[in-house]
Amino acid sequence: MPSSDLAVSVRGVGKRYVIRHDRFAPTTLAEAVAQRIRNPFSRQEREEFWALKDVSFDVQRGEVLGLVGRNGAGKSTLLKILSRITEMTEGEVDLHGRVGSLLEVGTGFNHELTGRENIFLNGTILGMTRAEIRRQFDAIVAFAGVERFLDTPVKHYSSGMFVRLAFAVAAHLRSEILIVDEVLAVGDQEFQRKCLGRMREVATDGRTVLLVSHNMAAVTSLCSRALVLRAGQLTFIGDVSGAAAEYASRDAKPLVGDLRNRFDRRGSGEIRCISLAVRNRSGELTHVVRPAEPFEIVVEYEAKTALRDVGFSIDVELLDGTRVSTLFSAFRNETFSIEEGHGTLSCQISGLPLRPDSYSLNVFIGAHSAVYDFVDRALTFDIESVDIFGTGRLPDAAHGPLIANFRWTA
């Protein structure tokens, strides 16, 4: 019963990925054929993974719906299904109107082409017709502020100009339903403000927006309702404050980063990190560490075979992906012989003199040039906000992540 006010109706949507086990998966045609000939009836060793399961919700026309969840919760998968990039395994979706999706800014931009050529190329890639682009051409150029450089190849643009032009094209997409990923998180603050303003305009235009974000603040300021995804399932749908509470309570910072269900990992898989945790000086699990206080990161792994000379690494990053430090065991010539099966290792850190903020940890396991396992953003933790200088003054983000131990004298 399609109501006239309905923009999107999602019913029982699920998406299954089949993960072939690397060791047995054929990567070349010859291997695939050889495998078929050897074992004509056996199925490959494969593991199923449901990135989304039984997700149902409706979006009203003119509504701005937020979609929040941690990495790997299924946000991107849902987005890709709604924007028809990938197909669902089960369920049904009704879309009342044309869908435009912005999974990133500047898809298909070509550095050799000029600004003008790129506006047309990128616009048609996003689903506009050439006539629509021509109509909005001046508005796009004005929004981006690149009038003087229209016939310059974009490789000569500054990165700021490039992002502005790319966003300008996307911002003029006239589709009834707009699906926006965390594209807003790029660029400087000024640019982010401009993007948020544009999003608000789009929404007041009576068009439907689905905004996917990590950033609860952006969701709160733009959306009327939000839904929370956790491990591929819809755990909450309702007003934004409720969603924020749900996101914070259950999703924000687990004490142990359980990596068993992370399928977005890289590496050959002989050994896998299955969990990551931070312990403070007294050995308690925590997600808050004081700056410059000793703590340890505990890596739990599972090895399919015995391995030698294995190096472990933890990357500490700001949430925007800026690398702060790399704790790679091989830097200290520390490599390990690993027995088959389960085990743990820990990395003791005498202190991270970092600015109070949230940091994420990537975990890497490898030997020589082999990458066994790599998980991006395996765990996030906070550096506690303490009065380091005893003055009540703290540096902010613009001052950089490192708080050096310094003193000025005359």
Binding site: I85, T86, E87, E90, D94, L95, L103, G108, I125
Partner: protein, 271 residues
């Protein structure tokens, strides 16, 4: 309203959807053309120089060294006409085959009918073909050769060559997404096909019995001979060979398009 549902098995190619995205087709083709000759010294002149140089090389190797120009009047025109058809085929095939992997960043980030990508490559190849054809006509005028009535068949022959190349290209593109080896195999297969096709030599050098096998085994051969019939007023291929080529072209295209639309739903996940 559109309803999205999981699909399985063979599905029809959605032509209405391709029409809806025709502007994208145009923009991608024009991107191809613009990019190809950016930052080259001679620019668009390469469209003319490339086939001339290739034909010149064949003229040297087969016409002069192997002495074929003695038995073939206007041997240079002969190879140039052969290359016209061959380039149309091989460029369409190789562009279509790499269209998915080469545009992986688009396929995994935006929706559009995937077949737009191989089609846009074909469109840009057609432009090159058009330029070569004009050059061909100029050469005909220069040598004083008059094409016969069969020239009117040329558009049909072009379509048949394109269908065959696209059919093979679509199968290759689908396979490449899963098995990257195809990328390495094809550059070996294409030169093989070149020598297996009557580009530099004339089929009439074969006995009638051998000709039969030749046309049967290589459906492209019939089209090549017909190309020269059409442009140079050379002897036509046997009618059954041309019919077989036409059937093979249409058949290969239908098979390629069906394979492509059956596998395209998994492209974004596999790339």
């Amino acid at each position: 309203m559109i309803t999205l549902r999981p699909t399985s098995g063979w599905v029809a190619v959605d032509i209405a959807e391709i029409v809806r995205f025709r502007d994208l087709l145009y923009e991608l083709a024009s991107r191809d053309i613009r990019l190809r000759y950016k930052q080259t010294l001679l620019g668009i002149a390469w469209v003319v120089l490339q086939p001339l140089m290739a034909a010149g090389l064949l003229y040297f190797a087969f016409g002069l060294v192997a002495g074929m120009r003695n038995e073939q009047p206007h041997y240079f025109l002969f190879t140039f006409a052969g290359l016209l058809a061959w380039n149309l085929f091989s460029w369409t095939l190789s562009k279509a085959s790499t269209s998915m992997v080469g545009n992986a960043y688009l396929v995994s980030k935006v929706y559009f009918p995937r077949i737009i990508l191989p089609l846009s490559g074909t469109l840009s190849t057609l432009l090159d073909f058009g330029v070569s054809l004009v050059l061909m006509l100029a050469l005909l005028a220069f040598y004083g050769v008059h094409p016969g009535m069969a020239l009117w068949l040329l558009p049909i022959l072009v379509v048949l060559v394109l269908l065959m190349a696209l059919g093979a290209g679509l199968v290759a593109a689908s396979l490449t997404v899963r098995y990257r080896d195809v990328q390495y195999i094809l550059p070996m297969v294409i030169p093989f096909l070149l020598w297996a096709s009557p580009v530099a030599y004339d089929v009439s050098r074969l006995t009638v019995e051998h000709q039969r096998w030749f046309f049967l085994l290589n459906p492209l051969a019939g089209l090549m001979v017909a190309f020269r019939w059409s442009i140079l007023n050379a002897p036509p291929p046997p009618w059954w060979a041309l019919a077989w080529s036409a059937i093979a072209s249409v058949g290969l295209f239908v098979f390629g398009a069906a394979t492509f639309s059956r596998t395209e739903r998994g492209f974004a996940d596999a790339l």
